[in-house]
Symmetry: C3
Subunit: 173 residues, 3 copies
């Protein structure tokens, strides 16, 4: 089961600073998942075409079941991750962004500036996360309980998680 | 006053199982409404073109004031009801989907997988509901208090409801 | 620092009644802001092309950092302010509409009929507000704490507010 992690950041991709956000996602997924998984990890600049090409490669060529991005979801001029996500997805999942913003709003009123979204490209789920490690964890803790069942409905891999870390929910049939 | 009920389901439309969801909507509307209304009910497969054609017929030819759908709002490959809704609507009403997901989230974390939306095709209001009867009722109970005033603003029929069942809200002028 | 205020109303623009909504926005901004600002105020009819042209002029020609609209966000036939906003914006900010509807829902269940949104046209932030002065204030009180930091991220003017009136939030670096 491959999972793509994309850090979208001009400065991290130029080596100006280390990418701690992408690594925070990988650490969190390692804590969550009991299932064996393989990471596909890239650090790229805030260029719409590059973000799209990276998502398409991870989804179509590498067969990732899930792609999570970090960065590029705010109102700064170079922030275009949600637009790239919408371009490559054939169907959007507005509930992810709504819940992540609602959760972040408990901590900071500037949570409404987060334009993050989620969607489906064929049978790959793509989720935008915020840029800061603390917010990443808050958002993943909020939405991840729904991810394994989402993959079930998409007829992808059965994802098992560590119940002590994250309470995954699968409705009884 | 005509109200359209569309059950979107490959299996129900093929007769593999009975459509209990569409019937749950009809039962709920019968409980809610004091105004005389006529149901226009169809069970159709998860085909975008068929969903769109059915909505267009109910809105443009039959003059339904309201169309409610059930099914096809999740992340499964065949789920395209929100996309069909967006195609036929000229204006979207994001507040319906937001509230329905927020309400369902109180019961299950997988509520964020519901991609349901609502919108306006000329002077017809179209609302996507989830597939399961229990969730249908929770969602209708949440959004229906706003429906009669919505029809007022759209200059359609005056819809009267049973106050003991559903507390409709019309702001004082 | 220029701020645009657009009242979208067929009747107010025809002089049938006075525009109290636009004036309520101006009064509120005068209460909020310590920074010197200049208002650019227009009352226009519910015509999509006119709304778009007015927003474009205020953003591109007059250099407004912020444009707030009132009116035209409901389900009535002539209500097209969100559609005009989406047309002129290159990137949308869904968190504003979500929060404004959630806040208004505490007062009236018909809050879900509000289709208001927000977005960015280059480096101008455009926010739709509801039509009624009471709802305008509720919504501005909810979203304005995030506006100054939004302008920071957009590399626009530093906006200072009166802390006794509105608690602006800027994350520590």
């Amino acid at each position: 089961m491959k999972i793509g992690i994309i850090t979208v950041s001009d400065r991290a991709s130029a080596g100006i600073y280390e990418d701690i956000s992408g690594k925070a996602i990988i650490d969190t997924l390692n804590e969550y998942l009991i299932s064996t998984w393989e990471e596909v990890y890239e650090v790229i600049p805030d260029e719409k075409e590059i973000i799209e090409a990276t998502m398409i490669k991870m989804a179509d060529e590498l067969g990732c079941v899930l792609i999570v991005t970090t960065g590029g979801t705010g109102p700064a001029k170079r922030d275009v991750t949600p637009e790239a996500t919408e371009t490559v997805c054939d169907r959007m999942m507005p509930g992810f962004g709504e819940l992540m913003r609602a959760v972040s709003l408990k901590y900071v009123p500037t949570a409404i500036l987060s334009r993050q979204t989620a969607g489906l490209r064929n049978d790959t789920l793509i989720i935008n996360l915020p840029g800061k490690p603390k917010s990443i964890r808050e958002c993943l803790d909020a939405v991840f309980p729904a991810v394994p069942y989402c993959l079930d409905l998409m007829e992808r891999d059965y994802m098992e998680c560590n119940e002590n870390i994250i309470k995954v929910f699968r409705p009884k049939k």
